[in-house]
């Protein structure tokens, strides 16, 4: 998906035939429907976590922070686990994604390169529960027993996140940037120097996107994590699902909102750091 220009750019085009599409009223209705379907659910999560009570009424009743104050040790533990797993998965995914992109640059069409490319993208096509089950079968008893450690959660999430990280790194290796690398190399720069001084600075936006996407996907992952997670390593989605199943909707909302804020903070922090780096002139 990352090969496409951002959607915002696509819709900014000004010269467009004024096709006789539905009239003004129809347009307004369609716009409202779009907001109702896509925006309202996100607002609802935020709103319900602040409500004292929301069942059998149209609007939530009694706004307050009580559900956040009532979060217990297990909730905070889940947030900590999610944060930790997310950070590790995003970092490892980004490093491996860059390595894959560099190693396979220009050779994904045939031979070994095509095989490695396909296998790296494969988890995009595998249902998360199936991948979770496969990892559980492979690593739940000796010779390799990871069933009691958070490593099994990290492995399964890393496999799921890797295609996204690889794709954003590969999209950044554009042919016109390759000239700079070749120039550096022909001027005698050793490979390590080319990597640190030319390739990685070129890929900075892709690295940022990869870290943010890896973190957000890891935080929200449910199917595979639920299948493999060892006792004591429940992430936020698992705790939320448990509370929803028992009918504790409002505490689940509070925890979900913290999860969403966490991914938002990560996205903003990564964006802000890059802007500072730009301001300093790198």
């Amino acid at each position: 998906m990352d090969r496409f220009p951002p959607l915002a750019v696509l819709t900014e085009r000004s010269s467009r035939p004024r096709a006789a599409w539905p009239g003004r009223l129809g347009l307004a209705l369609a716009a409202l429907l779009g907001c109702w379907l896509f925006v309202v659910p996100v607002v609802v999560v935020a709103l319900s976590s602040l409500a004292t009570h929301w069942s059998g009424t149209i609007l939530p009743e009694g706004l307050g922070l009580q559900w956040f104050r009532r979060l217990g040790d297990s909730d905070w533990q889940a947030l900590y686990t999610s944060l930790e797993v997310g950070a590790v998965v995003a970092t490892l995914g980004t490093v491996l994604g860059i390595w894959l992109a560099l190693a396979l640059e220009g050779r994904t069409r045939r031979g070994l390169g095509a095989v490695v490319d396909t296998v790296a993208m494969l988890p995009n096509g595998v249902p998360s529960v199936v991948l979770g089950l496969a990892v559980l079968i492979a690593y739940h008893k000796p010779p390799v027993d990871l069933s009691g450690s958070s490593l099994i959660v990290i492995m399964v999430q890393l496999a799921l996140v890797l295609p996204f990280c690889y794709r954003s790194a590969a999209a950044a290796l554009r042919p016109e940037l390759k000239i700079l690398r070749e120039a550096a190399q022909s001027l005698g720069a050793p490979p390590a120097m080319v990597l640190w001084r030319v390739v990685l600075p070129q890929m900075r936006p892709a690295i940022r996107a990869s870290l943010a996407l890896g973190f957000a996907l890891s935080l929200g992952e449910l199917g595979a994590t639920l299948t493999v997670y060892p006792p004591g390593f429940a992430t936020v989605p698992i705790v939320v699902i448990g509370e929803v199943a028992r009918g504790y909707y409002l505490p689940a909302s509070a925890l979900s909102l913290l999860l969403l804020l966490l991914s938002l903070v990560a996205l903003l922090a990564i964006a802000a750091r890059d802007r500072n780096a730009d301001a300093r002139g790198r």
Binding site: P17, A19, L100, A103, L133, G223
Partner: protein
């Protein structure tokens, strides 16, 4: 890592061992080995390798029902999501409205939103005690709350359409952006009405993006789990939830693995088709 483009240098690539290392040391333990063990377990009976479990799986009427409901759900949800996504993309492209820019940005972020949270949020809106249901009850002076469809087929379809329509919007918008608008104008000036322009000009030209988006939508809908768990596990039996409960509730890994391999075969067929389709386009996805 740069390579000169002369054919001579191309032949002796200094880093040719790297894909091997990645395949064996990274993708091996993460992807290949687990999937191989899954396949192996599904094929092993008490007396060596066997295909009996698969025969039993397809003969079992319960399992057939699960399979039918999974595929039925897929057909309805993914088709509706694709239609809505294409309609939405056309609206955003041809008739931008105040705030359409924001909505586009928002749809971009929607992909990073966890699906189970969408399902959860819908409970507050469409659940029998949710906002819409109560609003209708008060408006129409009904005795009971009118809406009771969320925990079942209808609710799962609604949640999957909401969650996966944005997936179709992006590739459709991308291929609409490549459209030569002079062709649309020419068709209009020659007197073609809007439906004719849409059917004869826009659709054929934007088809690759629409097809890729639709196929991706089918793949992701088939692989969906969170929505099924939240809204579907009570009244609707689906394959992903059946696999999950066989593995973690019944602790029956062998029978879970059979369902998982059947699921995997369907997903990977769609995945292969999707990759083939999107690699053929110049600006296509991976």
């Amino acid at each position: 890592m740069s390579r000169s483009s002369s054919p001579d240098a191309r032949r002796r690539r200094p880093m040719a061992w790297q894909p091997w290392l990645l395949l064996v040391a990274v993708l091996g333990p993460l992807v290949i080995y687990p999937l191989a063990r899954l396949l192996l377990l599904s094929l092993s009976g008490p007396h060596g390798p066997t295909l009996d479990v698969y025969l039993q799986f397809f003969r079992n009427p319960d399992m057939r029902n699960v399979l039918v409901s999974t595929l039925g759900l897929l057909a309805v949800s993914a088709s509706l999501a694709a239609l809505l996504g294409v309609a939405l993309a056309s609206l955003l492209f041809f008739r931008p409205f105040p705030g359409s820019h924001l909505l586009t940005r928002f749809l971009e972020l929607f992909v990073a939103f966890p699906s189970f949270l969408v399902a959860f949020a819908l409970i507050f809106i469409y659940g029998s005690q949710g906002a819409l249901s109560i609003a209708l009850q008060q408006l129409l002076h009904l005795q009971n709350a009118p809406l009771d469809f969320l925990f079942g087929f209808g609710g799962v379809v609604l949640a999957e359409v909401v969650f996966y329509a944005p997936v179709v919007v992006r590739p459709t918008l991308a291929s609409l952006a490549l459209l030569d608008l002079r062709l649309v104008e020419a068709a209009q000036s020659l007197g073609a009405n809007r439906w004719r322009v849409a059917r004869k000009v826009v659709l054929p030209l934007a088809w690759p993006g629409i097809a890729a988006g639709t196929l991706l939508c089918f793949l992701l809908t088939l692989n969906e789990f969170g929505i099924l768990l939240v809204l579907g596990s009570a009244r609707l039996e689906t394959l992903p939830v059946a696999i999950y409960s066989a593995a973690t509730v019944d602790l029956d890994l062998p029978s879970a693995s059979v369902g998982a391999v059947v699921m995997l075969a369907m997903s990977l067929s769609l995945f292969a088709l999707y990759r083939k389709l999107s690699q053929r386009q110049p600006g296509g996805m991976h």
